[in-house]
């Protein structure tokens, strides 16, 4: 029941500095020579921030870079404030790394004044989060087909979704377009609040990440009717995909990755790619992914850029905002 002395020592050493012992690196080319700033364009305590802290901890504890690395939260404007800071103060600086995610991509589509992904050089995607259709455990629908049939048999917008943010809204929009039914949408501050509304019976369904719903799924307070994936989830093997149920819904997952400022030289970008690949492969990261019921998805460099381009098209299409 106690913290061991070792874990306490580890904790003490997790303060944002690594031992200054340079690690013999096989990679030729660029190596950081001074303190690295890790910019998190989101507030402390949110999901994005927690991921950043896990990545930071892995880099520090496994001594993946030979210099100290300091976290800097610059929250605001759906990621635009933090990336604006990078653009203004850290242009082309390879000693800066930034956390980016789907929200940073959606922000400029809705608010063109906010510039985000166009201002950074994406280096590597690290993970993907899934979306599932949830209803209450005692709801009369067995699968997504039942649910859609019920929606179509009533006046439009009779069934309501509670959503916990822009990405949930996108998932509902995809579902509505793929199934040809109309739904009512109520947006809340977080997935947790949306879940509370579902449990209270104020709405009929939620579209959310498995993490928040897992405990309730196990106690059968909610059930999952479908997932937006090509193949079934290994953890939730009994939840059918939307495609299996005959809905032609595109694969929809929320991505999270790392970037450096725009104009970072190629050799520095390659260096960071190597670091993040080691992060994703580490046991701590794998444990984090497992606890969050997410998918580790290292997509490096050019492939990441292509992936982001496709995502951008999908988002713009869903939001009716062509480029």
């Amino acid at each position: 029941m106690m913290l061991t002395r070792r874990s306490l020592l580890l904790a003490a050493s997790a303060v944002p500095f690594v031992g200054a012992v340079p690690r013999a690196s096989a990679q030729a080319g660029w190596v950081p020579t001074r303190e690295v700033e890790f910019v998190v364009p989101f507030a402390t305590g949110g999901g994005a921030d927690l991921l950043a802290r896990v990545i930071h901890k892995i880099i520090v504890e496994e001594k993946l870079v030979p210099v100290p690395i300091a976290l800097n939260n610059r929250p605001g404007g759906g990621g635009a404030t933090g990336i604006g800071y990078v653009t203004a103060r850290k242009a082309a600086d390879p000693h800066t790394i930034v956390l980016v995610n789907g929200t940073t991509q959606i922000t400029p589509i809705l608010n063109p004044a906010a510039r985000t992904l166009s201002e950074v050089r994406p280096v590597m995607n690290v993970m993907l989060d899934d979306f599932l259709l949830f209803v209450k455990g005692d709801a009369p629908w067995k699968d997504a087909k039942d649910f859609v049939a019920a929606a179509k048999s009533r006046p439009p917008k009779s069934l309501a979704f509670a959503t916990g943010g822009t990405t949930d809204v996108m998932a509902v929009t995809i579902f509505a377009k793929a199934t040809g039914a109309e739904y009512n949408m109520l947006n809340f501050n977080s997935g947790g609040e949306a879940l509370t509304q579902l449990l209270g019976g104020h709405v009929q369904a939620c579209m959310g990440n498995p993490l928040e719903f897992m405990g309730h799924l196990q106690s059968k307070a909610v059930k999952a009717l479908g997932v937006f994936r090509d193949t079934r989830f290994s953890v939730l093997g009994d939840v059918p995909t939307m495609k299996e149920q005959g809905f032609n819904a595109p694969n929809f997952q929320m991505w999270r990755g790392m970037a450096t400022p725009k104009g970072t030289p190629d050799d520095a970008a390659r260096y960071w790619e190597g670091v993040f690949a080691k992060v994703v492969a580490s046991p701590v990261f794998r444990a984090y992914i497992a606890e969050n019921i997410a998918t580790a998805a290292p997509i490096p460099g050019a492939a990441f850029a292509k992936f982001l381009e496709d995502q951008e098209k999908l988002y713009r299409n869903l939001l009716d905002k062509p480029a």
Binding site: M2, S7, G45, L50, R53, G76, N111, A114, T196
Partner: protein
């Protein structure tokens, strides 16, 4: 009986030297961050989270819970002494608490806050222990219309704080207007942001509070032609009479705080607002409020502490966050491999009961720590004010900057600080404006969510029983002074 057995086991778990140390560290850190504007319990927990990876989850949750309710004690300190509320839930405290400090009664204000917080914290921990599962289920009955009605009830406080009803309503409306700046939650579109990225998140609560209360107070004191007299600190602890006045407000505050805290997404801030209005409504002489009424400190302070324990109810019993801070504690549970959900109470009984036991211990630690400190900190006011205001201004600027590392926030502080000075100079109350800003977002969102749900019909507010009752309470709160004025001449002829 199983409650007693579980609790005894919990105490056994919480009383290990290491867990006691964690509990002390938590409440101490909480007290500290609560006193500093800008950094709140949620950021403190997020910052400490990586340090606890690999540690025992029970110790870590004891630490985090300690930070959470400890912060409610800490917020009192700066609100009373220098009129800078460290936390949203301390705004109401600063109204009467600061007036008490000016009268040399800072020790009494801080003392009653500590005692009230202790009683409220203990009462609501008992509530958490005995009622968590049924209460958490009851809280689920709150959908958008019920939240809307609750916020309407909270908004009736606009007229209750500050002297003039008209001025209170005006600044309250201004607060509501400010709350519409930024990204609209229902559609994701920016409003009144003028293409400024830093306005996308709207005007921060901390910025406005620190500006209107802290900077405004410093500027207006500095602008006086005669230097403010050095306060003589009278008694360091509440007198017997003051304690008598505060007993009922503490009990009422505990009850209100616990119930409002249980409702997800409302939390300590609304609880403290409602407790203040209730005290003013039941007071024999409401005109004392705003001029150093000890009930105005005892009620809200008890209420915000009780709410912190109340917010743990949905977290422990349902696995849904009751406030921003408990959302982070939930995230921490997940990191420790504990899946929050309706079965937490059964599946992780040892953890839950040990944390509950630690909350009793933490509240005792806070009381022991705060009673002597109340007198000590009250001495601070013996320092001439001309020496105090530079560090107060520095604290305001540093606090506002540090919450998002944003220089634009500091400029907003300057602008709203000037407004705060003007409002103080011409006697316009600042509290309703803060109230408007805090409640505005929930007001608008729950209204629009309700209307979406009902396809545009307002009937939804009156056909749902909880919402109807809350709206009726709000109507009574608004109309009672009017009715009293109509009927009083007949009841008391010649008055």
């Amino acid at each position: 009986m199983s409650v007693i057995y579980d609790l005894a086991a919990g105490f056994a778990g919480a009383a290990t030297p290491w867990n006691l140390l964690m509990c002390f560290a938590g409440v101490f850190a909480g007290q500290l961050v609560g006193a500093l504007p800008g950094i709140g319990p949620s950021s403190a927990i997020a910052l400490l989270l990586p340090l606890t990876f690999g540690a025992d989850p029970t110790s870590a949750i004891i630490l985090f819970a300690g930070i959470y309710y400890g912060a409610q004690y800490g917020g009192t300190l700066t609100s009373v002494l220098i009129s800078v509320p460290g936390e949203p839930s301390s705004v109401m405290t600063s109204i009467d608490g600061y007036q008490m400090a000016l009268q040399g009664r800072a020790g009494a204000a801080l003392g009653i806050a500590a005692i009230g917080s202790f009683i409220a914290g203990t009462i609501s921990t008992v509530g958490l222990m005995l009622l968590a599962p049924p209460l958490a289920r009851a809280a689920l009955a709150f959908g958008p219309p019920e939240y809307f009605a609750l916020v309407v009830l909270g908004l009736t406080a606009l007229a209750a704080v500050g002297g003039s009803v008209l001025k209170g309503l005006t600044t309250g409306m201004f607060g509501l207007l400010i709350s519409t700046v930024g990204i609209d939650q229902q559609t994701g579109v920016a409003r009144f942001a003028f293409d400024r990225i830093w306005l996308l998140d709207g005007v921060g609560f901390v910025v406005l509070t620190v500006a209107l209360f802290g900077v405004g107070e410093v500027l207006s004191s500095a602008g006086m032609s005669t230097p403010r007299p050095i306060t003589t600190v009278k008694n360091l602890l509440p007198s017997r009479a003051e304690w008598k006045q505060s007993r009922m407000p503490i009990l009422r505050g505990s009850f209100i705080g616990f119930v409002v805290g249980v409702l997800p997404a409302t939390g300590a801030t609304i609880a403290s607002f409602i407790a203040y209005i209730v005290e003013k409504k039941v007071a024999k002489d409401p005109s004392r409020f705003g001029k150093g009424a000890i009930e105005g400190v005892a009620g809200p302070e008890s209420s915000n502490n009780a709410a912190a324990a109340g917010a743990m109810v949905p977290m422990l019993a349902l696995g849904v966050p009751g406030s921003g801070t408990t959302a982070i504690i939930l995230g921490a549970l997940i990191m420790f491999g504990i899946r929050p959900g309706p079965e937490l109470f059964d599946k992780n009984a040892a953890l839950v009961w040990t944390v509950i036991a630690s909350m009793y211990i933490g509240n005792v630690i806070l009381l022991v720590m705060n009673l002597p400190l109340a007198g000590l900190f009250a001495q601070l006011l013996r320092v001439p004010y001309s020496w105090l205001y530079p560090p107060i201004l520095a604290l305001c600027v540093a606090g506002v900057y540090s919450q998002a590392n944003s220089i634009e926030d500091v400029w907003m502080l300057v602008v709203f600080g000037a407004l705060g000075w003007a409002m103080m100079r011409y006697d316009w109350p600042a509290a309703p404006m803060i109230l408007g800003l805090v409640l505005g977002t929930i007001f608008e969102n729950s209204l629009r969510q309700s209307m979406t749900l009902s396809h545009g019909s307002v009937e939804i507010f009156f056909t749902r029983p909880i919402s109807a009752v809350l709206l009726a309470c709000a109507a009574v709160a608004v109309l009672s002074p009017v009715l009293v004025r109509i009927f009083r001449p007949r009841l008391v002829p010649g008055a």
